[in-house]
Amino acid sequence: MSVTVLYFASLRDAAGVDSEVLDLPASLAGLYESLRARHGFALGREKLRVAVDGAFANWTDPVADGAEIAFIPPVSGG
């Protein structure tokens, strides 16, 4: 029972990897908080959005086995 986490931009620089496979977490919010502590992400969760399987999701959505999770820091395209 695992999930894949994708990192972009400053989160990827801080994590040092593009992605990692982790044990299925209890919640998306809890997952981000634990990864923030581990990798030292500067951005608080309130500044991010979360996406699951290529679509924006809510922080309170349940997490399924095999999900692909991405934390979306504030965007700066254009």
Binding site: A51, G54, G77
Partner: protein, 144 residues
């Protein structure tokens, strides 16, 4: 047909503009965002855009579809460049055709505003004086 694209190669404006041509359209508005040599007072030496491509393309297509419901337009398209860009290169292009100029302008501006605020693309700047950073602006500091 809404057309949103994340492109790793230079944006071909002439080709894209052709996509929107049609004898029924009286008005065409376009926007281009170019790589500036300065940002926030610092000289920029190089710039890279990165995207979460799957989500960026879905979100971009959703923005174009929503533009069609909000504005009386005929066609809308947007292409955003990713990868390393030189100064003066085209980073993003938006084009809208409509019967009249009001909706063409309104939709074009709305699309670029939405793309800048919603589509998962990030800009990384290298500065001439040294240093580099990913830009993660708060919504109110987007320099529009």
């Amino acid at each position: 047909m809404p057309h949103f694209e994340i492109s790793e190669s230079p944006i071909d404006v002439a080709r894209l503009r052709e996509l929107l041509l049609g004898t029924g359209a009286g008005a065409y508005a376009s926007f281009e965002g170019w790589v500036r040599d300065r940002n926030d007072g610092r000289a920029v030496q190089a710039l890279t855009y990165e995207s979460y491509r799957t989500l960026a393309e879905a979100e971009g297509a959703a923005i174009l579809a929503e533009a069609h419901t909000r504005f009386d337009i005929q066609q809308a398209a947007c292409v955003h460049r990713v990868g390393r860009l030189a100064l003066g290169e085209l980073a993003v292009w938006v084009g809208v055709s409509a019967a009249h100029r009001g909706p063409a302008f309104d939709a074009c501006r709305w699309i670029i505003d939405e793309v800048k605020s919603r589509v998962p693309i990030w800009k990384h700047e290298h500065y001439a004086e040294g240093g580099q950073q990913w830009l993660h602006p708060s919504p109110q500091e987007d320099g529009r």
